[in-house]
Symmetry: none
DNA sequence: TATGAATGAGGTTTCATTCAT
DNA sequence: CATGAATGAAACCTCATTCAT
């Protein structure tokens, strides 16, 4: 069941990230101590410091690895014509990305307060901002701007909140959330 | 500027709650220490413990005082016929309540991870669940259920997220969010 | 069941002593806080300070009230001829005194470490010393001196330790302990 | 005089136990703070927590190391025939054990109240109970049972109490106490 | 006769971090 | 590549005590 020392060799860095993300998502960043991470890995705290300079750096490295898809997505969308179809595709791909890195996104949603004080907080906020910029029409009425933000939030909510509350098929929920989100930006686009 | 000890007499409890909520909302629950709260009030830590048994109790007391409007709202809605107009009114009043207790709701949104480990976490979740129950049609298709959840999230987002990102009039944003939310449940209601 | 405020009037001092002794005996002096005493009495901590200057003073006052019988006993024995019969009577009366103030003596036995740092510690020790002096022959062999000390300890042990371990009649145990103690000093006396 | 950091390496755990026991015995468990222990060792409080999980654990570890002789003694006696000679030998060896671990046994005697609330309290009590069981005849009259308990208490008293009161040779006192104890169980045995 | 409000000192414990080996 | 030992800062909390009312 638990891996032998041999198997562990060489991928400790990765394993630290995995366990850390799991615990961060489960308990929050502040409540998760390095002791706890180390214990789960059956390693000493000092070992963590061989691989990462600080606790924050562990989190940063996780972000770097897992948010690349989103950055690439934003880059891609920046080069497309700003049509409704582009926006729909953007939402579709974003939904996929959320699904792949669901643990991290759950972490982001539930630890906004912690994030704000951390160096990546700024980046996270900027990324969100860029997403909104790509979805909305520059001088649309406020209502339509809200619809764009709402579309994004719906995808997030569709992923996390619903999971907690609904018993049902989570894949179905995800598709439903995507449909509502697409609806929202469609309305926002038409009326612009 | 800073009040004298005489002025403070008798309302210390209230002042603790105020300062605590302010700091909790600003920095998060875990990152806010009792030392910090005490310092801001120019009181010793022990004074906090005269008024509240634990740090968590400070938070609980804040919740008790500030979430009553929502509980009353839920109670009210429970007694109304489940018509579309009731739902619209529910959202309107909810939006008002969010506005009044905005600091606390910002705190709730940004500290979900902390809340989950706290005794009130359960209550918060239950309240959210009840709100959703009041909005959605019992056996509506998943898409429409998502729309209901989305309506709520839109109000929240309308209040906090937009404030951070938009320079503009926050009252206008709030009204726009309410409009979008009402739209969403209207769609969900019709198709049911 | 719980007394009314009216009933409490005027004997608060006494009630403090009672509750304090009960808690001191049960949990030890250090582990018992004034908060706890006050709570049991449904009074504030400040009320305790109206009746006693310090925590230690509460204990001292309890000693003053409850150890008088022993002091009188020692005074009495000092005036008697130092015969075997006197010693026997001394043990008998001592056993009675232990029984009457059993809570305090249990406290003394179980909190020797605390007592040593307290001002009464010295007094307690002196009293014990005087008791031994009254029992033993001035230049008896060491063995007989031990027997005298042992006789006293037997009475103590007979009262507390046995109560914990034996299911049986505690009055019977007390009588047995007295018999053994009398035996011991009888031996010590003869051989002198 | 005071050892250099280099000399300390590797035996810190032991040194903590030594200093802790010394202070616990001198001042009592509750009155001894970790700050005090740390200061004596010229180490930080956190260092204590590297070696022991809690304050109580320090005490537990001391017990584990120092009460083994008694446990072995009890085990040994359990396998012997329950003759008078076995009982005498048991007392002799018990007296030796008390002497070796005198600091701990003084602690136990003077901090019964503290011990009762601690997890080891139960163990201590059980051990005492087992000793008594080994000494007494199953259905001897109460008086003889008291004599057995008294024999044990005499050994304890012979070690601690006498030291405080007598100026004289403590080794002589110990031998005298053993003699009285042996006398007591001899009487208890014959009359059975 | 008591209370309400507060204090200052100190308690145990935990944390992120360091560094020689 | 990792550990063992330690630190300094700070966390939450409790205590005996005081004093104006």
């Amino acid at each position: 069941m638990s891996s032998t020392p041999q198997q562990r060799r060489g991928n400790t860095r990765q394993r630290i990230q995995d366990v850390a993300l799991e615990l961060f998502a489960e308990q929050g960043y502040e409540k998760t101590s390095l002791r706890e991470i180390a214990e789960r890995l059956e390693v000493t705290k000092a070992a963590l410091y061989y691989h990462f300079k600080t606790k924050e750096e562990i989190l940063i490295s996780i972000f770097e690895d897992l948010t690349r898809p989103i950055d690439e997505l934003i880059a891609w969308a920046g080069e497309q014509p700003r049509t409704l179809e582009t926006k729909r595709e953007l939402l579709r791909r974003y939904s996929d990305a959320l699904c792949t890195g669901s643990q991290l996104y759950r972490f982001m949603q539930e630890n906004q307060a912690s994030l704000r004080e951390l160096s990546i907080g700024e980046t996270v906020k900027r990324r969100m901002f860029e997403m909104v910029e790509l979805l909305r029409q520059p001088d649309a009425p406020t209502v339509d701007q809200v619809r764009c933000v709402s579309a994004l939030f719906t995808l997030h909510a569709g992923m996390m909140f619903m999971q907690h509350i609904e018993k049902g098929d989570s894949e179905e929920t995800r598709r439903a959330a995507l449909e509502v989100a697409v609806d929202l930006i469609t309305q926002a686009h038409h009326q612009a």
